[in-house]
């Protein structure tokens, strides 16, 4: 119903025909790609203690998108550029920076204010602000799907190629550095990959809900299993069910997809570890709860 309203079609489209319409196909493809990538990125975000940074990068993307509109460019281009710049800046700041959270939070607030300014100066597209803050998976264009496919493929190939080194550098940075792993280069590479995936995920769930797609599924998965490849597979699976569920349910109910996507991810986060406990005496590691809540 939400989608039917959005399409504003005079003929009464059924759910099934909506699911095969071009914007829906775009949404499903983009959503699938982003879900898979966010599972892999989300795992390393947790291992590297970067959840807050994901939030910050998404907010830094916001003025990028509104500035792009102001100067007559495509908002997604500005979004991707600003997120990438934000990721690189956080990398340059390094782990040694004191009050890292305060610095990140302050930049986040400033970026959001700046985004608001650019939007009010431009304000050509009335729906832009809502789309950026809360996402609009149904607005993804075919050109964006092509670009997103390229970005996701590159990120996945890089993660697969560097997987063990990145894992070593993430969980055991001192020993990895001693053994000759270039932890700085890996850190910069990861932050850039993370920022690109955040930028394209913002188109789905928006700046404000990014956590639900990028961090929550991985935080759920890491409570269910300790094996890295399984954590990534389960996290991607949860993100995939969330996105597809959001799209399908939004064709029948008057709810925006972003709401359904975040709800499914959060319900999984609460329910799945409980189901695991019911299933059998699986050790529920305190440390993982700690990671998930940090």
């Amino acid at each position: 119903m939400f989608i039917a309203t959005l399409v504003n079609s005079t003929q009464t489209q059924t759910g099934l025909s909506l699911l095969t319409s071009p914007f829906m196909i775009n949404a499903l493809i983009a959503g699938t790609l982003i879900a898979i990538a966010s599972g892999a990125i989300g795992y390393f975000v947790l291992l590297r203690d970067l959840p807050f940074a994901t939030h910050a990068v998404a907010h830094i993307g916001f003025p990028g998108a509104t500035l792009a509109v102001l100067v007559g460019a495509t908002p997604v281009v500005g979004l991707v550029a600003a997120c990438a710049a934000g990721g690189i800046a956080i990398g340059a700041m390094g782990h040694r920076a004191r009050n890292r959270e305060v610095v990140t939070g302050t930049v986040l607030a400033f970026a959001t204010g700046l985004g608001l300014l650019f939007n009010s100066l431009g304000s050509a597209q009335s729906g832009l602000l809502t789309n950026l803050l809360f996402g609009n998976i149904l607005a993804i264009t075919t050109a964006q799907v092509v670009a997103f496919t390229a970005i996701v493929l590159v990120v996945l190939v890089v993660l697969a190629a560097t997987g063990r080194k990145l894992l070593f550098a993430s969980v055991d940075p001192d020993v990895a550095a001693a053994r000759g792993v270039n932890t700085r280069a890996l850190s910069a590479m990861f932050l850039l990959a993370m920022s690109l995936i955040i930028a394209i995920s913002v188109t789905v769930v928006g700046v404000l809900l990014i956590f639900a797609l990028l961090v929550t599924p991985a935080a759920t998965a890491i409570r269910l299993t300790a094996r890295p490849t399984r954590v990534i597979a389960i996290a991607s699976g949860i993100a995939l069910v969330s996105v597809w569920g959001g799209l399908i349910i939004a064709t029948y109910q008057p709810w925006p997809p972003s709401f359904v996507i975040t709800t499914i991810a959060c319900v999984a986060w609460i329910a799945l570890p409980q189901l695991m406990k019911l299933r059998g005496p699986v050790a529920a590691p305190d440390i993982v709860t700690h990671i998930a809540s940090s």
């Binding site: 590297r48 070593f168 053994r179 300790a226």
Partner: protein
């Protein structure tokens, strides 16, 4: 094994962090096969020495040779047991996966299993007697067990030298003794040279043969019998220390 060159050779070596001189004038050899404690007050540069030997830090002057060649990162012949790992980072993965990373974490690609790797992991887990909890998450085992897993990880490349950075920190007395016994066996049975950074020398006195002591801004090397006396330890710790010889070796205590 290159038995002709010492495990460590410092020649008029000094290190800085930024503008601050950490220590200077270090000239000594640590013979191959030694079990040496590294002692010194807080901030004397014990971890800096470890970092220097690993090649992660370059000397401001002088040279650093390790196992016959200039110190450089990425040398699999050196095993590192780091100070307490952040469980935020390492806590969620399995002990045996952390050990496996010691071997394959420097290689491209993915995957921490496979028959050859599993055999190598089981080998070192047996050597440190950690098979029983290797399937648990690193964050879910005790501090002493975490140290054993760390030692297993360091052993997986079959190193000729082991650097342990304060492995006794946070352990109770029996846990300390267990770790020292384990390291003694690795030193004794495998001929691995050991440098063991510690605050408390007492748990080590029965097994070490030598010390690197950082005092008055210069690291020096000496045999246990020459170095462990009341006068030196009093200077080292800046508080009156009494060394008492006992049947098993010697102990020292703080005196008033």
């Amino acid at each position: 094994m290159l038995s002709t060159s010492p495990a460590v050779r410092l020649t008029d070596t000094s290190v800085r962090r930024g503008r601050r001189m950490i220590w200077s004038g270090a000239t000594f050899d640590v013979p191959t096969g030694s079990f040496a404690a590294v002692i010194g007050p807080n901030g004397a540069g014990k971890s800096t020495l470890i970092n220097l030997l690993l090649g992660g830090l370059k000397p401001a002057s002088g040279t650093v040779e390790v196992l016959g060649s200039p110190a450089e990162t990425g040398n699999p012949r050196i095993g590192l047991v780091p100070q307490n790992r952040s469980l935020d980072h390492a806590g969620s993965i399995l002990c045996r996966d952390l050990v496996a990373l010691g071997l394959v974490g420097t290689r491209w690609g993915i995957g921490l299993r496979g028959p050859d790797l599993a055999a190598a992991v089981d080998d070192v887990l047996t050597a440190v007697d950690a098979q029983d909890y290797a399937h648990l998450r690193f964050g879910d085992v005790s501090g002493g067990q975490q140290k054993r897993i760390s030692i297993a990880q360091a052993l997986i490349t079959k190193p000729d030298m082991l650097l342990l950075d304060e492995p006794l920190a946070g352990l109770d007395l029996s846990g300390q003794v267990d770790i020292v016994e384990l390291v003694h066996h690795i030193n004794h049975d495998r001929g691995v040279t050991v440098l063991f950074v510690t605050h408390d020398l007492n748990p080590l006195l029965a097994h070490i043969d030598s010390l690197v002591y950082l005092i008055d801004g210069t690291p020096r090397f000496g045999n246990v019998d020459d170095v462990v006396d009341s006068g030196l330890l009093t200077r080292l710790y800046g508080t009156p220390v009494q060394v008492t010889r006992t049947a098993d070796g010697c102990v020292f205590t703080r005196t008033e």
